[in-house]
Symmetry: C2
Subunit: 335 residues, 2 copies
Amino acid sequence: MSKKHRVTLHEVAAHAGVSTSTVSLVIRNNPRISEATRKKVFDSINTLGYVYDRVAANLRSQSSGIVGVIVTDISNKFISEFLIGAQNTLEQFGYTVLLGTTFDSVSKQDKLLSTMVEHRVDGLILNPASKSSEKTVKKINELQIPIVLANRELEDANCDYVGIDYVKGAYIAVTHLLEKGHKRIAYLGGIKASSTWIERMQGFQLAYERAGLKLDESLIIDGPPTREGGFDAVSKVLQNENPPTAIFCFSDLVASGVLQGLALHELTPGVDIDIVGFDNIPDSEIYHPPLTTVSSFPRSIGIKSANILYEKMTKSSPEKQRIILKPELIIRETS
Amino acid sequence: MSKKHRVTLHEVAAHAGVSTSTVSLVIRNNPRISEATRKKVFDSINTLGYVYDRVAANLRSQSSGIVGVIVTDISNKFISEFLIGAQNTLEQFGYTVLLGTTFDSVSKQDKLLSTMVEHRVDGLILNPASKSSEKTVKKINELQIPIVLANRELEDANCDYVGIDYVKGAYIAVTHLLEKGHKRIAYLGGIKASSTWIERMQGFQLAYERAGLKLDESLIIDGPPTREGGFDAVSKVLQNENPPTAIFCFSDLVASGVLQGLALHELTPGVDIDIVGFDNIPDSEIYHPPLTTVSSFPRSIGIKSANILYEKMTKSSPEKQRIILKPELIIRETS
DNA sequence: CTGAAAGCGCTTACAG
DNA sequence: CTGAAAGCGCTTACAG
């Protein structure tokens, strides 16, 4: 093993006494090579310490074996679970994952999209930033590679999509609160411009309509889909002259901030005020107190996204797919 | 914009009426190209919709612009925070991150290491699997690329390292419990073979020694560094004929499982039994009840790791570095 | 079942 | 300040 020089196919071929084509075929397990030759080549590979150069292979074969996955925030458990599902599935198919995190910034997202294309990714799974604009959609539609959107749908984007039914999720959560007798329910956190926020809002309204109630706009406070966002939103809504008796949170992460804020005001969730989250992240179970929430299925979304992408990358004319998973209500101690 | 064909440097050169070398230099912002030529070339790039092909560039220039980051578990908040730090820093330096998750499996780690090298990553940040063996170390030492280890040190590995002082962290946690009058303290979770477990054990022992106490091996139960691991360990230790009055947990994640297990036995943390975690992940603050824990600094570790790796990738003969961050005790309600 | 030759799309000296 | 030519390390038809 030399220090700087990388062993090439040529050298392996020379050492084994065959042609480079043969070595290439052996490496890729092509069955039309005889067992004897195969063994000879593998011996040479081992003694020379040859390392396959995918960069060269990719240039020649015009595919990279790399899939880009762009998400908004890996420290959000929902997203990290989603990522695990996508990554595991992709790796099983033999792909490697190039990860990008946008922190919900559209400009960062644009940059990542460009970088990934320059790296010739074979496909892309995108969990779009909340404020993705028409410009983003245009860019995505111009991309010449398979792409699937996850968790958040983009209007007019010509892509496959995997997500959950946020309308229904919000509907069951709010209906649960209404059935408990609440008439003033707040909706806290999440970016108003995003499809995920809008769809929850639709479910929220639907539940109100069916109950024959009118909603109070002053109880709807949007903000970043983070713990801080939840903390700020609850602080604001508690200053309302007629404060809510229950809160529907955009996500469990937002709910965690809401719980923090309530503790500060010495309000006990489930007693003084009812709270419902969204996502059912594992930690919601050990929040203080354990959080009632809507269960979505991030890992399944990741797996499904990867499967669809794989089909798009390998089949010639796959059908466009749109998969919507059904949510469930998990009742714990905050309601 | 044609549908299948990718525009090449050649075509841009022809369109702009210059040579490919010139286009190449323009793209890479080489200052020795005149402003006029530069503009002409950029115009052609835009009208043709040219996309830079890094795969080709990388093959020729023998560097990929990609850094591999291999971690044990992105759904662990400590790790995801670490990743954010590393990734942000690396991206600022212009690198793209190829992510690998081992789920603490050594064989998966081996495979990922190979894949990354085949993709010609320029450098590697490795958060080693708990049971990484001598074989792993040998493999790492043979790698011809810069590599920095994070969070867990590997004996005899010839690498830079960034982590925190686990001995001291465990020492301050256990001393805190001893000062509260506890004499039977359990140590739950974590893999016995890993440096992170061993170092905490050393701190644990040191605290006991200074207090003039002898430790009881039956209160030391190792296991996977996960919530499930914590749950299982606490279930076991509670069956001890002389159960502990306090528990030092390998990590906050383990502590979350311990809290779950205690709830099942109707023991109230901070009242019936004291608990201390390790990591100070954001959620520990809203655990039920809020967890006393040792604060480590995952994001800083990520940032430091990336900085050191960058130096190694760019400087010719950097000094070997070993950075150990100091932990702090955060007292909340479980003790 | 195996080999000789061309080429993927860039960058790199080198020449002018 | 710019161009012609070689080459990075593979894979891909094609021929035998």
